[in-house]
Amino acid sequence: MNAPQTAPKRQGTQTLDLGELGLRAVNSRLQDISEGSNETTWTVSNPMGQHAIACGLDSALSVDIAGQVGFYCAGMNQEAEVTVHGHAGVGVAENMMSGTVRVKGNASQSAGATGHGGLLVIEGDASSRCGISMKGIDIVVGGSVGHMSGFMAQLGHLVVCGDAGEALGDSIYEAKLYVRGTVESLGADCIEKEMTPEHLATLTELLARAGMDADPADFRRYGSARTLYHFDIDNASAY
């Protein structure tokens, strides 16, 4: 998609020019803001696809990144609200703990990998291994996800408004997967499950929080058949 390149101007916003300051200075500035500070609204300009932008933030900041980012953007995020006004490279919001990361464009592989909490919204498509080994994060993808998404997903929700590629939810634990479109194939030990009113309510809330205009009734739910948790000779064919 053609992602918008300009972050919205907000009052009191301070701008950090990454091209001028360099990555380390930008991240240090954002990481050093103390609790209770009123310097909460930031724009990072000239990201130029560099890696690890806005990593390790741990306070309730609002950070707009004006352009495309490289690998591991907003990794390990806690509390901050990071918006990428462009596309994101590999591992956006990897190991996120809390807060919100929003990608206005597409995301590359392993988006939200190992995330423990918070909400990751990808308005475009996510590539392969989206939500790999997720541990509590909620991920909402406006488009489609690539192959091996939700691989070994342990906890949290992955909502896909488009289609899912091959081997969705391979070796999945207790994460819940919701897909609106087609699923190319399910991975080992991943099965379609009943959409109960409780699941529908969770999905409705996630779509609303993500700002996605999709009917929850159109989605199907997938999860673990729980045959791979412990070795059992009766389940040998599932390995």
């Binding site: 130029m48 696809g49 352009g67 490289g70 490279g89 498509d125 488009g143 289609d163 479109g181 700002g211």
Partner: protein, 326 residues
């Protein structure tokens, strides 16, 4: 690691700036490949009946003029040569096979690294910027170029082990990844008469494509067959007389990104290599799908990736702004 980059200029107005636009792309991939670098450049096609050979020698003072004169005499053909640092471009109307045999039989350390009507290959050990500068590539004009920055894993850091590897007339390959069945495949190809200049795994991939193409298989088909016959991780970029083609293995562990505007098409291992191009911030940007051949150029294997878009939901507020989503 390793980094690969490709640039195809759709807008002729930009052709004089090819070398200048390509330079920051290659240099941005230095951290992925500081050992050696190389490019394939397509420009100044020679006359019908002539072939342009890219030659290299470890001795920067190698007597290229003497080689050219000896070749002309031995093969009763025209020959002219131009030195480019450790490389030389030799243009002759002699038969390609005869030139290859003649060079191989001389045993003077000359390496034949590419041939065709317009291709020129330059590759050396050292930092990408130094390699780019020593061959004076910043000022070159042309329509397209592909390049590689190498962090060696499978074989020695040498000029011969650097990319791109020639795969036939006006064809060459750059590779990011590693192949696990290259020893067996190399032996198989040797038995079929294919010769090798290094122990490099990527050269085996290039030789595989060369052999397929020699047997009349189209480039697209050869790249698809590679998906079955090559075991390992790879993103390949293949330079052709008219453009370039990209394919990733079915697992697609090695990174790759494509971007396109009305003026150019670019591919790179990482987007930061593309970020410096004019209009990159508003380009269409997407990740090539696994096991799918993408190509640009007039070689009849065009695939318009936009035709393969998945359905996408975006917030109602963004819907009007959302263009082609890949």
């Amino acid at each position: 690691m390793c980094g690969i980059v490709g640039l195809y200029l759709k807008n002729e107005v930009l052709h004089p700036e090819l070398g200048k636009l390509f330079k920051p792309m290659l240099i941005e991939m230095t951290s992925r490949g500081p050992d050696s670098a190389g490019v394939a450049l397509y420009r100044d096609p020679v006359a019908d009946g002539e072939t342009k050979f890219s030659l290299a020698h470890d001795d920067a003072g190698h007597d290229w003029q003497g080689l050219s004169e000896a070749l002309a005499k031995a093969l009763d053909a025209s020959s002219r040569v131009e030195r480019r640092d450790t490389h030389a471009l030799l243009v002759t109307d002699a038969d390609v096979g005869a030139v290859e045999r003649w060079l191989a039989e001389r045993h003077d350390g000359t390496r034949l690294i590419g041939s065709g009507r317009s291709i020129e290959i330059y590759k050396e050990t050292g930092l990408p910027e130094a390699v780019y500068e020593r061959f004076g590539l910043s000022s070159v004009a042309g329509r397209h170029m592909i390049g590689h920055t190498r962090m060696a894993t499978e074989s020695a850091v040498t000029s011969a082990g650097s990319h791109p590897f020639a795969t036939g007339a006006d064809l060459c390959l750059v590779h990011n990844g590693s192949l696990s069945n290259h020893n067996r495949l190399r032996e198989e190809l040797k038995r079929k008469g294919v010769t090798f200049g290094s122990e490099n795994d990527s050269e085996v991939a290039a030789a595989y494509l060369t052999w397929k193409l020699r047997n009349g298989v189209s480039l697209k088909r050869a790249m698809e067959d590679a998906l079955d016959d090559l075991d390992g991780f790879f993103t390949f970029c293949v330079g052709t007389a008219d453009g370039f083609a990209v394919v990733r293995d079915p697992i697609a562990c090695k990174h790759a990104v494509l971007a396109e505007t009305d003026d150019w098409v670019a591919m790179a291992t990482e987007f930061r290599a593309i970020a410096s191009l004019p209009g990159a911030d508003t380009a269409r940007i997407w990740e090539p799908r696994p096991a799918t051949v993408y190509s640009w150029g007039d070689d009849g294997m065009d695939i318009d990736a936009v035709d393969h878009l998945p359905p996408t939901v975006v917030p109602a507020s963004q819907r009007a702004a959302a263009g082609g989503m890949h």
